[in-house]
């Protein structure tokens, strides 16, 4: 009966209830959508990093990641290769030779990371081959080809077929150099990545470094991204502790931090919205209680105990808030689903977004767990908002309340 009374009480003043339900619904819908956009941006940034750069798991020799010392190549790389070939969790992997160096043209020079790759196996792991603006992806028929980004090409003022000179330190510490020809220009959605990376064939880099058949890095793509923690521990057991085996979160800790910080910021943002809504709900419920002082007095007089009066106000607040939240979530989900399918075109901010590492089309996204969390937050907000009006109702003394007197 209390539930029924609470529900009917909501509809006593339809206009007022409609206003607060609309406020909660629109506030939450806008909040959810903003969070979905922010979440979509973060996910896109992480996906870009995984697809272009880190893959799911990387294996290095201990110490290599600290200063990219070319002497720290992977020992027994062939054993790792054999293991990965038979590992069913692994979708693809690429064994890279890596060095830092300088690429120079007659107009300028840039320092960057040189990635020696096997184009065929790299294609299975990263998606740079899909981001070619010009040329091809280190095709077999060109001699000493190099892939540079459009940013690097602009900086060096070179174009397709231009010659550039690579200078780097070989395994003996000697400075060595060689001329390469630009065979492809790529452009990913991450400016930072584009500015910092160039690709040549693995054999060419090995020859320059004087490390024949040696690799420094194995990038592994798994069939299921959720299997990263399991596979990580499996690999550590199988390959031993001599290698540094890291998930993408460990390879790019700033990205992992960004993901966590983004989630915390999202909840903070939501908490701010809910706090604002809480005052709206509180105001509505206070008005509702003050309007019903005599009625509450009657209820108390005829024998409704304080707990039931308290529950009636709390349930009323929760129902009112939950209605608003459900409508808000429904609106939010519809908008998010539509924009997730069609994308939000932000090409006018393309440059800024690229420097953040994402494309100019944003696909908002929110997980189911987020909605569950949101419902819990709304419930807690409603509960907190109801306490003051409910306590106010409890503080009424029947004899005075019957005359409409509120102390």
């Amino acid at each position: 009966m209390i539930l029924s009374i609470s529900w009917r009480n909501i509809w006593r003043n339809t206009t007022r209830s409609f206003v607060i339900i609309t406020a909660v619904a629109l506030g939450l819908a806008a909040g959810i959508f903003s969070l979905a956009v922010m979440n979509g941006l973060t996910e896109q940034k992480m996906r870009t990093a995984i697809e272009n750069q880190t893959s799911h798991i990387q294996i290095h020799e201990e110490g290599f990641t600290a200063n990219k010392d070319v002497k720290l190549f992977l020992k027994n790389a062939d054993i790792i290769e054999q293991h990965l070939q038979s590992d069913k969790a692994v979708k693809a992997f690429s064994m890279r030779t890596v060095s830092t160096g300088m690429v120079a043209s007659s107009k300028g020079s840039v320092g960057l990371q040189l990635n020696g790759i096997n184009p065929e196996s790299e294609k299975q792991v990263t998606y740079i081959w899909q981001n070619m603006r010009e040329g091809d992806y280190l095709s077999e028929d060109s001699r000493k080809p190099i892939l540079i980004s459009s940013k690097t090409a602009d900086k060096l003022e070179v174009k397709m077929k231009s010659k550039v000179v690579l200078t780097l330190q070989d395994v003996n510490g000697d400075i060595v150099g060689a001329a390469f020809r630009v065979s492809g220009i790529f452009q990913t959605t991450s400016t930072a990545f584009d500015k910092g990376n160039a690709f040549i064939k693995k054999e060419d880099l090995q020859k320059l470094l004087q490390t024949p058949n040696q690799v420094h890095e194995v990038a592994i793509l798994l069939n299921d991204a959720d299997e990263v923690p399991n596979e990580l521990s499996q690999l550590k057991i199988s390959l031993g502790e001599d290698y540094l085996i890291q998930s993408w979160k460990e390879v790019l800790p700033e990205l992992s931090y960004l993901s966590d910080a983004s989630m915390q910021t999202n909840f903070l943002f939501l908490a701010v919205i809910l706090t604002a809504l809480a005052f709206g709900i509180l105001n509505t419920m206070l008005m509702s209680v003050f309007e019903r002082i005599k009625e509450i007095g009657v209820l108390m007089a005829v024998g409704m105990n304080k707990l039931k009066v308290f529950n009636m106000i709390v349930i009323e607040t929760i129902l009112l808030s939950a209605l608003g939240a459900l409508v808000g979530m429904l609106i939010g989900i519809i908008i998010i689903n539509w924009t997730a399918q069609h994308g939000i075109n932000l090409s006018m901010f393309a440059e800024g977004l690229a420097s953040y590492g994402v494309s100019d089309t944003i696909y908002p996204s929110l997980s189911v767990s987020f909605y569950i969390m949101l419902m819990i937050m709304v419930f807690v907000t409603a509960l907190l908002s109801s306490i003051y009006p409910a306590v106010k109702a409890l503080s009424l003394r029947p004899a005075e309340a019957l005359q409409g007197i509120n102390n």
């Binding site: 005599k294 009625e295 009657v298 007089a301 005829v302 024998g303 304080k306 003394r397 004899a399 019957l402």
Partner: protein
Amino acid sequence: MSVIEITNLQKIYNPKKIPVHALNGINLSIEEGEFTAIVGPSGSGKSTLLNMIGGLDEPTEGKVIINGVDISTLSGRQLIDFRLKNIGFVFQNYSLLPVLTARENVEFIMQLQGRKKLEYKQRAEQLLEEVGLAERMDNRPSHLSGGQQQRVAVARALASKPKFILADEPTANLDSHSTNELLEMMLKLNQEENMTFIFSTHDQRVIDKARRVVSIVDGKIEEDIFTSNTVDLKESHEN
């Protein structure tokens, strides 16, 4: 047997600032089956006395003993429970829950008492039939006249099977036709079921029907008269 025994009842509002003596030593005993009107001008203390009898307010001094229980000894929770079991209330402004139908308003009290569904459904119907609202059971108060609402309020007051009914100016907002109907119904309940009624009123029509009239002036009983009125329902109806 006394249903209500009041001894030296005093109520002082704002005792520390500007004391207002609402009740000044009331002594009153009400027997089972009485039909008593407490009368007096506005501010005389009628409603305060009714609040004290109903356990809605605490006396400054004195005792209210209902069915042998000194209600000042009860805790807040016990008092609510005591009211629920022993006292039926009818208020001046009908005071039904506007979101509930007539039937639900009556059922509600029995639900608070924890009665079983079948029992409270049957009793609510029976009571509403008794007060002549069999046809309007599923109407909300806003679709009932003032007199009909007061009859629902009486049915609600009876629902808990109380020892007595306290009615605070029950006819104040009713026209003479509705007043007569309500009085007739309450007299019938008094006569047939020996239900004790205590009214606060300054409505002469109610006073005329009362078997006992207690006049209060300035918080003191000025007169306590047992009238020669007999509960003649026929006569009441004709009036």
